[in-house]
């Protein structure tokens, strides 16, 4: 199994509807292919972690990086892991119209991202914190996925 973390920029801002569409499609396809992880979105900034079998993830990442909705895809990590750190695939963003999103399967408010399990190395957890910071700005520093002291 491997995990991949990347950051990118949306070509143009994604609307609530764009995001929900992406959420629906990805949750369906990822569940089908046993892909788990999390995607962060805010003001055109995108970061995503995906974990799964290398045979699935490598072509998926190829496809995602060619997706016309975003560009400047920069892969930060691509390495083998022993176990998954996420039980499903979810997406964290601030909808313009939050009503209705709260109940949506796989949707998270950015400050509700749960701490990561200790199976993830501190270095990788730090990377997730840094990409959250890069996507959501300094506010994200208030909550951390790092284990508490």
């Amino acid at each position: 199994m491997i995990h991949i973390i990347y950051i990118s920029r949306a070509v143009r801002p994604l609307s609530d509807q764009d995001l929900q569409l992406l959420l629906d499609q990805c949750r369906r396809d990822n569940a089908q292919h046993n892909v788990t992880g999390v995607l962060f979105y805010s003001h055109g900034n995108i970061a995503q972690l995906i974990e799964g079998e290398a045979e699935v993830l490598e072509p998926l990442f190829e496809k995602i990086s060619r997706d016309g909705r975003h560009s400047n895809v920069m892969k930060l990590v691509d390495k083998p892991i022993n176990i998954r750190s996420f039980s499903e695939w979810s997406m964290a963003f601030h909808p313009l119209e939050p009503a209705g999103f709260e109940q949506l399967q796989g949707f998270l408010l950015p400050n509700r991202v749960p701490p990561v399990p200790s199976s993830l190395t501190i270095a990788d957890a730090t990377l997730i914190d840094l990409v959250r910071l890069a996507v959501f700005g300094a506010d994200a520093a208030a909550t951390s996925v790092l284990p508490q002291a």
Binding site: V77, A123, T126, D129, L130, L133, A141, P147
Partner: protein, 622 residues
């Protein structure tokens, strides 16, 4: 029949046709088209002057003239103001109007006029537009020329065969070539020999592919210097995929290139520098992802940069310090505050060495970035630890000495008291003949008083300074023992002693902290000091409760042992040394005993020479 047919044709012809008869030019046949031109419906037989329709006066005059002279006349693009359906004057319309004299029966005399009017409005408007366009084009052309010849760039046009069709005058200024120079022959010769082939090839390739180009090369300037220029050109397509010309511009980019080159060199030099420093150096993006580790980082960690990864340095830290270090890094990235911390970092041989990690945010050519360094302070750190231990030991020795002074001053009080008693007795019972007797007696008296005062002062000073009389507190024996052993670490390591601590039966003791430390320190250091040369020391420290529930501490060793006097409770005197060959002040056990007795307890000892010694501290006598 033929005439009727002819009339029909004429009637429906798209050009206006009319006959005018006699010198009064009376309307004869007027077809539909002509009727439209003339406007008001004209009636056969009426003279044209009475019913001219749209025909202006000057045309009427010309008609009469043509009639008189018998010479045909054509007015080209003659403007007629036709009335439109509505009332406003319609748009002007233009006609080619032909006037042909008619001679009846082939005679000489003119008997009428044939009038043709062909609508040429469309052509005329087109002609006028063309004219306006030509003027506009000339204006643009002038502007283009001014621009082309005043911008700093050299502009040029190349045809499909690759021949220079045009080059702006700047080319001649730049190259210093005469206006008569053969562009196509000269240009390639002015390109730097190292660039020439590449440029000719790339130009040919772009032309063949019908696409534009953009490349840089060195072009010789009038002073013989080669300067970097950027050549960009785009094809002009007349039909799709069929370029006819390439228009382009040549911009001098020499200074930018030199600058970029200098920057690249500078960066390479910095990298070289960073790679030669025996310190871990790295840079990170504004987001906090490390994007460069110097060579030493790889050597130190035994990992490649790509395996270290954007946050890989955290993996090198001691596991117990990683989370803390990571949280502080995220905080620095969020706030821009500098980063600094003391951490243990794993070397390639799995050994951890202390490092100070520092990082600061700086802005360089690539924007905001972080620059970090990890400085090895392991040796300093260890040295400091050793110094601290030595310092602790010194402080303790000092304290012990103070205790000694204190207890000694106490102990000297009794003999002094006895001395004074004896002296008083002597004065009473003996008589002296010496006349200076009373003087001497006073002096002895005074000396004794002085001695007493000095002893009191000594005791009071030490007591104040060292807190030996400090109030008792509840002490964790293991805690204090660990502290003491830390101070003795060097001796423990050196002698490879095995030390067993067992405080389970009575883990705490209510006592003066400095006192307990002194007692433990002296007993333990003695046990280490007087070890048997044939075996490493094995020391067992145990706390217990007596039958009367009073705390007891025993320190048992397997050392040299000693001869004990035949007394149940030997009294230890200062400066008596059981083992003259072993270093030590000889005051240790004396002190311990003094401390214990002063707090209401006593010390017992059993020993077998060559086997070992056991001290038992009865903290409080019931």
């Amino acid at each position: 029949m033929r005439e009727q047919q002819l009339k029909d044709i004429l009637r429906h012809m798209p050009a206006g046709v009319a006959t005018l008869q006699g010198p009064e030019l009376r309307y004869g046949f007027v077809n539909e088209a002509m009727q439209e031109v003339l406007g008001a419906s004209v009636t056969e037989g009426f003279p044209i002057t009475e019913c001219p329709g749209t025909l202006p006066a000057d045309l009427l005059e010309v008609m009469q003239e043509v009639y008189r002279r018998g010479q045909p006349y054509v007015a080209k693009a003659y403007r007629l103001a036709l009335s439109s359906e509505g009332d406003e004057p319609g748009r002007p319309r233009y006609f080619d109007i032909a006037l042909e004299p008619v001679r009846e029966g082939g005679g000489e005399e003119v008997t009428g006029l044939l009038l043709f009017a062909v609508d040429v409005t469309g052509q005329e408007e087109a002609r006028q537009r063309t004219h306006e366009l030509a003027i506009e084009t000339r204006r643009l052309d002038t502007r283009l020329r001014v621009l082309t010849e005043t911008v700093p760039q050299i502009t040029f046009t190349v045809d499909a065969k690759g021949n220079y069709e045009y080059v702006s005058p700047q080319w001649y200024y730049f190259t210093g070539q005469p206006p008569t120079a053969d562009l196509n022959a000269m240009w390639p010769l002015l390109i730097h020999p190292d660039d020439r082939l590449r440029i000719l090839y790339q130009t040919d390739a772009a032309r063949t592919a019908g696409i534009g180009w953009s490349y840089e090369y060195r072009l010789r300037r009038h002073d013989g210097q080669y300067r970097w220029v950027l050549s960009r050109a785009l094809p002009e397509l007349h039909a799709p995929d069929k370029p006819v010309f390439w228009h382009g511009a040549l911009t001098e980019v020499h200074d930018q290139r030199e600058l970029a080159e200098a920057l690249r060199r500078g960066e390479a030099e910095l990298r070289f520098l960073a790679d030669s420093i025996p310190e871990l150096i790295w840079t990170a993006t504004a987001e906090g992802f490390v994007d460069y580790y110097n060579q030493y980082s790889e050597e130190y960690s035994g990992l490649l940069s790509k395996d270290l990864g954007p946050t890989g340095w955290i993996n090198l830290l001691h596991p117990s310090e990683q989370a803390n270090a990571a949280r502080r890094w995220v905080h620095s990235i969020a706030t821009g505050e500098s980063y600094e911390g003391l951490f243990r970092m794993r070397r390639h041989d799995e050994r951890f060495r202390w490092h100070i990690i520092r990082a600061r945010q700086l802005t360089d050519a690539r924007g905001l970035r972080w620059f970090g360094a990890c400085t090895d302070v392991d040796d300093q750190h260890r040295l400091r630890e050793v110094l601290q231990t030595q310092y602790d030991e010194l402080a303790r020795t000092n304290r012990d000495l103070d205790t000694f002074v204190y207890t000694a001053s106490h102990d000297l009080k009794q003999p002094l008291f006895n001395l004074r008693g004896l002296f008083d007795e002597l004065r009473r019972s003996a008589s002296f003949d010496d006349p200076q007797e009373s003087q001497i007696l006073t002096m002895v008296d005074e000396a004794l008083r002085q001695l007493d005062l000095t002893l009191q002062d000594l005791a009071a000073t030490v007591q104040d300074q060292r807190g030996l009389s400090a109030p008792t507190e509840s002490l964790d024996l293991r805690n204090v023992a660990d502290e003491v052993l830390l101070g003795l670490r060097a001796q423990v390591l050196e002698s490879q002693a095995e030390i067993e601590l067992d405080f389970e039966a009575a883990p705490t003791l209510t006592y003066g902290r400095a006192n307990l430390r002194s007692v433990l320190h002296n007993l333990l250091s003695n046990a280490l000091k007087f070890s048997h040369p044939g075996r490493p020391p094995h020391i067992k420290v145990q706390s217990n409760l007596s039958d009367t529930n009073q705390p007891i501490l025993t320190v048992h060793d397997n050392g040299l042992g000693m001869e004990l006097p035949d007394m149940p409770t030997p009294v230890f005197q200062p400066f008596t040394r059981q083992h003259p060959h072993v270093a030590g002040a000889g005051v240790g056990i004396y002190l311990v005993q003094r401390i214990i007795t002063s707090r209401g307890g006593h010390l017992e000892v059993t020993s077998t020479v060559g086997q070992g010694t056991a001290f038992s501290v009865y903290w409080f006598d019931a």
